[in-house]
Structure formats: C-alpha cells, structure tokens
Symmetry: C2
Subunit: 176 residues, 2 copies
Amino acid sequence: MKKSIAIDMDGVIADVEQQFVDWYHRDYGVLLTKEDLVGKSDDTLFPEAGLARKMVLSPNFFRTLKVMDGAVEALQKLNEKYEVYIVSAAMEFPLSLGEKLAWLNEHFPFISWRNIIFCGDKSIINTDYMIDDHLRNLDNFKGKTIMFHAFHNVSYSNHVRVNNWNEVLALFDKEA
Amino acid sequence: MKKSIAIDMDGVIADVEQQFVDWYHRDYGVLLTKEDLVGKSDDTLFPEAGLARKMVLSPNFFRTLKVMDGAVEALQKLNEKYEVYIVSAAMEFPLSLGEKLAWLNEHFPFISWRNIIFCGDKSIINTDYMIDDHLRNLDNFKGKTIMFHAFHNVSYSNHVRVNNWNEVLALFDKEA
C-alpha cells in the first residue's frame, strides 16, 4: 500500500504571503517584501490592526492565490509514489470552501475529490506524513512532520524544516 | 483525554431518505414510504434512472434536509463526554459544501467549526468510533464501527447496527 501524505494549502501550495504583499500594495500603496513579514504573526503582519484577518475574510482572497513555486510539479511527482491528500483548515473561513475547491480544481486537477479534506482541527488526520506551516497542526500529528517555511514559523525548530518544494522532493528522495 | 467519535451527516444526522420521498411526491405525485426504499441503492431508488443523483445535485437538496429523529438531543449528550466530529463525504457534491455548513450551523450550533470535516475518502480519519451508514466508510476504519440503518445497507451485518439515535445512546451507555 502506498504511504500517505497530508499536504496543507495556505502557505504550502498556495502563496498566502505573496497575496498579503500584493493586496497591501494595491490598497495602501506600500510595497513590502516577503522579508519584511519574517517573524510576524497574522496579528502583527501590518501596522493596521486586524487587516490580515479582514483580507482573508474578503471574497476572492483564496480563489486568486498564486501557486507556490514548484508546488504543481512536486505534487505531480509525489502523487506517483504516494497517496497525496490536500488537508486544509478551511472551516475557519466558511466562504473559502467553494473558492478553495475551485482553486484546487484549476491548479491541481490531478488531485481527486476523494483526496481533498476541508477541516478545522487537524488532530484526527491520520497519514504517514504531514507537510504544514503551522505548529498547531504539526505538534499533534502522529506521523512524520515536515514544516514548510513561513513568516510566522521562523523561530521554531521542533520539526524538520523545508524552505521550498525542491527541498521537499529531496527529502522524499531520501525516504524512498 | 476524551474519546472521539466521527459522525456522518447524510442518512445519519440528516434524513436523506425522507427528502427523497418528499421530493418524489412533490415532482411526480407518487407518495412512496421509507419501506418502499428498503433494499434499494441510489441507482435503483426510483423507476426513473439517475433521478436520485439528479436530486442530490440540485440546489437546496442538502440545505433543506430534515434532521434525523433524536439526532440533536443525542449529539448534545454525546458531546458532553466525547470529542464529537462531523465527518461528511461532501467533496463529491461541491455545491453542497456551503449548504452543509449552513445546515450544521442552524441545527447543531453546539458543534464547533474545529470539529467539522468535509472530505472525500474517509480512510484517513482517525477517531475512536465511527457512526456511518456506508460500508465503504466503515470497512476501512480502524476504530469501533457503528452502522446506522439505511435503505441501502439492510443486507449487511459485518458492523454493529443501530436503527435510531436512541439505540446509539444505549450503546454508548454500555461503553462508559
């Protein structure tokens, strides 16, 4: 039986950081870089309190995210040898459900609806591997954890860290 | 730590059979009973081929389902002693996602978004118990399985069967 991988969406296959930078530029005329966001949390991301949360609650935020560099090619490759599941904590943002599914169907049409999970808490997800950027998801996971680099997780080192999808593929090459 | 229960929606807390009966009466003027459906599958439910599938793909089918008798009271009770998760194979019907979430929020407001999972295949769900009406979900489950009676599962006996929510509560009384 193929081993299974649970792969997060936001910040892992969908480039949320870039969307924050782009929308802030569009709405406030200030061009931040991804480096400016390092070490911040969703609450401290912008000088304007609550702005990041307001953005993620806006229509089209999730539908128009850029695909993370290399994610399509990497998932196609992983999908040949592993049972790949997309697991997103989408329930927090109810309006995002339809947008996220449409986004997946557009960019990752090779992922079957059978392998898509929208949830809240990820503690009941049981796969062999989990690739995620959030400590709260990785810390309670029973399988092997892989922490995808994100502005909000730079100070943590209790999971194997990958900085991009090439590093994920290199890691799985060693697992095989 | 509380033990966890994965509870299905359609046919378990949401009365899909009654909706089929009601809509068939509304659209074809023929009043079937739930007994008429016993032993049928979704494909053979009505003389008109594909009608059941056409119904579940119609707007409002999932939003207007009746709550299964006793389900609200039973889940409130179970929710006190167990970690209750609602796990629905909603991805097969993309339009149902928003309807199902709105339905849950209306009828089961005490279930947090953290405990709601919309998925395809349920094989990666890891809870202590699963209450479901579909063999394909129960057969691959690693914890204790409870098969909720439905027209399409009457001929199977490889899982503990319950006929209604009172029987579920009686079962968990014995587990405690």
